[in-house]
């Protein structure tokens, strides 16, 4: 009996702890919906999901890195450099599918370099990715000579290639009677990847090894986990996700600027922290990160609709993050 009581108690505690970010999200949505009729429309929610997808994809990769007791500051620069690579290839006549593939591989490789610096180079993750962040931004500026690369879709010769490129950021999945419901493709990509990350982190040996590496690297090594491989892998994943987000962005705006994604690393880290993942690794959940991403998106979107000045928006965001993280710490 005693044991059962103990277990139930703990479950209620962990329930609140685990879904704290979701509770905050729901509260936020309800409050803003009450004040603003514009906010609570279906089309605005879908739009919000599209806006959330960039940060969401990056934050998923960031979650893996932070779970392994690392940090990736280079995501914003990787986002830009991969996008620039894709754009340059396309305006020089490379088929869209090839350009997209190359950009995704490039993003993965850029992440891998951070991972190698952290493991083989024995640099602290903060320093290693500060270096790659600076270097990649510089490369993006050098390649473009600091100028935007625009009119991307028009430069693609084949109709199918142009469609593929456009659908990534602008497309909608339309269904229902009279095509009443249309869900943005980026939102669908976000949900699919959420499922993939959930599966990998909680149902595969690879996921376990990420948690073990972040929880106690020495111990993980001694039970045969190749922590070097794991770390290189999580930075590569982070690079891939940043590149994917970058491609969606340039598809949406039809041009690529070398300054894309500046400051995105901070939004991604904030989302991970909001979602309850421990900054020292080993603890956290991908669904928490999703909640964190949505909280930030709802704040951005809602405060804009309410006409709050952007200066105040920053302060309000800071307060929300502070409150969320503090309430998380108490448990």
């Amino acid at each position: 009996m005693g044991k059962n009581i103990e277990k139930n108690k703990m479950n209620i505690g962990t329930l609140i702890g685990e879904y704290g970010a979701f509770i905050a999200l729901v509260l936020l949505v309800v409050v803003i919906s009450c004040v603003s009729p514009e906010f609570r429309t279906g089309s605005n929610f879908l739009n919000l999901l599209r806006q959330a997808s960039f940060n969401g994809l990056i934050a998923f990769g960031m979650t893996c890195v932070i779970l392994s007791d690392g940090i990736d500051l280079s995501v914003g620069s990787t986002f830009a450099l991969s996008a620039i690579i894709c754009a340059e290839l396309m305006i020089h006549g490379t088929p869209a599918a090839v350009a997209i593939l190359v950009a995704l591989l490039a993003g993965t490789a850029l992440g891998m370099i951070s991972g190698v610096l952290v493991t083989k180079g024995r640099l602290q993750p903060f320093i290693a990715t500060l270096i790659t962040m600076t270097a990649y931004r510089g490369l993006a500026l050098i390649i473009t000579d600091g100028k935007p690369v625009s009119r991307l879709a028009a430069s693609v010769k084949s109709a199918s290639g142009a469609f593929l490129f456009k659908v990534l950021g602008k497309g909608n999945f339309v269904f229902g009677p009279n095509d009443a419901i249309s869900v943005p493709i980026p939102a669908i990509i976000l949900v699919v990847l959420l499922l993939v990350f959930y599966f990998v982190l909680h149902h595969t040996t690879f996921g376990r090894r990420i948690y073990a590496t972040g929880s106690n690297e020495k111990c993980a090594k001694l039970v045969g986990v190749n922590t070097t491989k794991i770390k290189i892998a999580v930075y590569s994943i982070s690079g891939f996700m940043s590149a994917l987000a970058g491609l969606i962005m340039i598809s949406r705006v039809d041009s690529a600027q070398p300054t894309l994604g500046e400051g995105y690393e901070l939004d991604a880290i904030a989302a991970v922290a909001l979602g309850g993942t421990s900054m020292s690794g080993g603890r956290g959940k991908i669904v928490g990160t999703l909640a964190g991403v949505l909280i930030i998106a709802v704040l951005n979107n809602g405060l804009n609709i309410l006409g709050v000045s952007t200066y105040y928006q920053e302060v309000i965001k800071a307060v929300v993050i502070l409150v969320a993280v503090l309430s998380d710490r108490k448990r």
Partner: protein, 494 residues
């Protein structure tokens, strides 16, 4: 200083850890506090020094009731607690550690380095230790770090010293000099509360002994009125039988052969064999290089020369990953920093070493996971609320059982145990001995590194003695005794 603790109750959540516990300390005595892990010794002392708040009960010092709200208040009253887990700042120097928070200053808060050095030197001389005061803590051995901690306590004029397992990481010589200091302090009227699992030390050093069991006060005896069996009976409330369970050794072929293993500055030309079903004890002083040899075999320390053969075949082991593939299991001496994912569950800890067997092509099978973990929890009698129980909240003995369980589930051919019973109580110790015996009788080659000589003598078929990185001799278990081992370990010849 007389301390009287009476009717102390304390609960953490729904878990009552102290029930009507008590303790009486007299002026100038060394008083042993004993009990199994989880009996409440440390908790009781933490309540005395204001780390925890008691739920009820009284604490009187020299007849006056006191309520310390923090360890600092207790320290002002002259009560100093030296914790089992070292409380040092690893990046700072010895001197900075000694004077942290109580620096000697000249005007305007400028540190008086000269005065601090002189004082530090004085205290260390009194202790008979030689540690340079400007050495960085992380460069010192664990034993040296412990000595610095003790010096720190001696710098405030303590009237009562509480020591929680102070000798667990000390060398023989350091232990001796610590005992000298303790005896000198006793003469000056300082009272010492001594928490330890080492019976021999308690009978050598202490005047009286108080025993706790399951959070309750069991009794206080003069050390001259009681023997080891009596103490054990009071601690566990029943007869435990023999300290070291017997085993029928069925010794088979050579499984592990180490030939000329050398690593510059750590160990030199180490050769030995272990057979199936055999327990090889490895004895030596702290810092003799035993742990380093084992870590090298397991692929953590790259060797300079030498070869390792398993089942007669030469193997190349460059990482723990390869060692595990070759059939070696390694239980490290430091279970908190290396043995366990402390903040993770029992299930996570057991599975992480056995991911292959609970998954198919990298995808985990919930059923296999559950089966494996439940089997191990049952087999090792791990006391917990369930497989999800966080390892942080387990007692030392149960933590060690989790470590054993995770390795034994990998079905190793060779099992290396480095100090497997450190900080583990008598009941759990015996269970660990039983596991070792069971492994040996299943034909596993077992290597047990231990600094507790009775344990080495009681458990081993053969005993290898290491001194300064060299094998000084391998004794037959039946012929070995403490004297022979110590002679070899300190550089003598038989």
């Amino acid at each position: 200083m007389n301390i009287e603790m009476k009717g102390i109750n304390k609960s953490f959540g729904s878990n009552q850890v102290l029930k009507d516990a008590g303790f009486l300390l007299k002026d100038g005595e060394v008083h042993a506090l004993m009990g199994e892990n989880g009996a409440g010794k440390s908790t009781l002392m933490k309540i005395l020094t204001g780390v925890y708040k008691k739920d009820s009960g009284t604490i009187k010092i020299d007849g006056k009731e006191v309520h310390f709200k923090s360890p600092q208040e207790a320290e002002k009253a002259g009560i100093v607690f030296i914790y089992q887990e070292l409380n040092v700042l690893f990046d700072l120097t010895v001197e900075e550690n000694l004077f942290m928070g109580k620096e000697i200053t000249k005007h305007f808060g400028i540190c008086d380095k000269k005065a601090m050095r002189a004082k530090a030197k004085e205290v260390m001389d009194k202790m008979g230790v030689e540690i340079p005061v400007d050495a960085v803590m992380s460069d010192l051995s664990v034993g040296q770090q412990q000595m610095v901690e003790i010096c720190k306590a001696l710098m405030v004029d303590a009237k009562v010293l509480i020591m929680d397992e102070p000798t667990a990481a000390l060398t023989e010589r350091e232990t001796e000099s610590l005992f000298e200091v303790m005896k000198a302090l006793r003469k000056k009227g300082v009272s010492i509360v001594y928490i330890s699992h080492r019976m021999e030390e308690i009978f050598e050093l202490c005047d009286r002994i108080t025993i706790l069991r399951d959070g309750s006060y069991i009794g206080t005896e003069k050390i001259s009125d009681i023997d080891m069996d009596g103490v054990v009976r009071m601690m566990i409330g029943r007869e435990i039988g023999e300290r070291f369970p017997k085993r029928e050794s069925k010794i088979g072929d050579v499984v592990l052969k180490v030939d000329g293993l050398t690593k510059d500055k750590l160990f030199h030309d180490v050769s030995f064999e272990v057979r199936a079903g055999e327990v090889l004890g490895v004895a030596g002083l702290m810092g003799a290089g035993r742990t380093e040899i084992m870590r090298s075999i397991f692929g953590c320390i790259p060797k300079d020369h030498g070869s390792i053969y398993i089942d007669g075949e030469k193997v190349r082991i460059k990482s723990p990953e390869q060692a595990i593939k070759a059939g070696i299991g390694f239980i490290t001496e430091d279970r908190k920093t290396e043995g366990l994912l402390l903040e993770k569950s029992i299930a996570d800890n057991i599975e992480i070493a056995n991911l292959k067997s609970v998954s198919k092509k990298g995808v985990l099978s919930k059923k296999k996971e559950k089966d494996l973990v439940n089997k191990e929890i049952e087999e090792f009698k791990i006391k917990c609320f369930g497989a999800w129980h966080e390892c942080n909240n387990l007692s030392g003995g149960n933590q060690q059982k989790v470590v054993l369980a995770k390795w034994i589930a990998t079905n190793p051919k060779i099992l290396i145990l480095d100090e497997p019973t450190r900080g583990v109580d008598i009941g759990a110790k015996k269970e660990i001995y039983n596991v070792i015996n069971q492994m040996a009788s299943m034909g596993v080659a077992v290597i047990m590194v231990s600094s507790e000589l009775p344990e080495v003598l009681g458990m081993s078929d053969r005993i290898m003695v290491v001194r300064e990185g060299e094998v000084r001799g391998i004794l037959d278990g039946k012929e070995a005794d403490q004297e022979k081992i110590m002679t070899l370990a300190t550089g003598g010849t038989l």
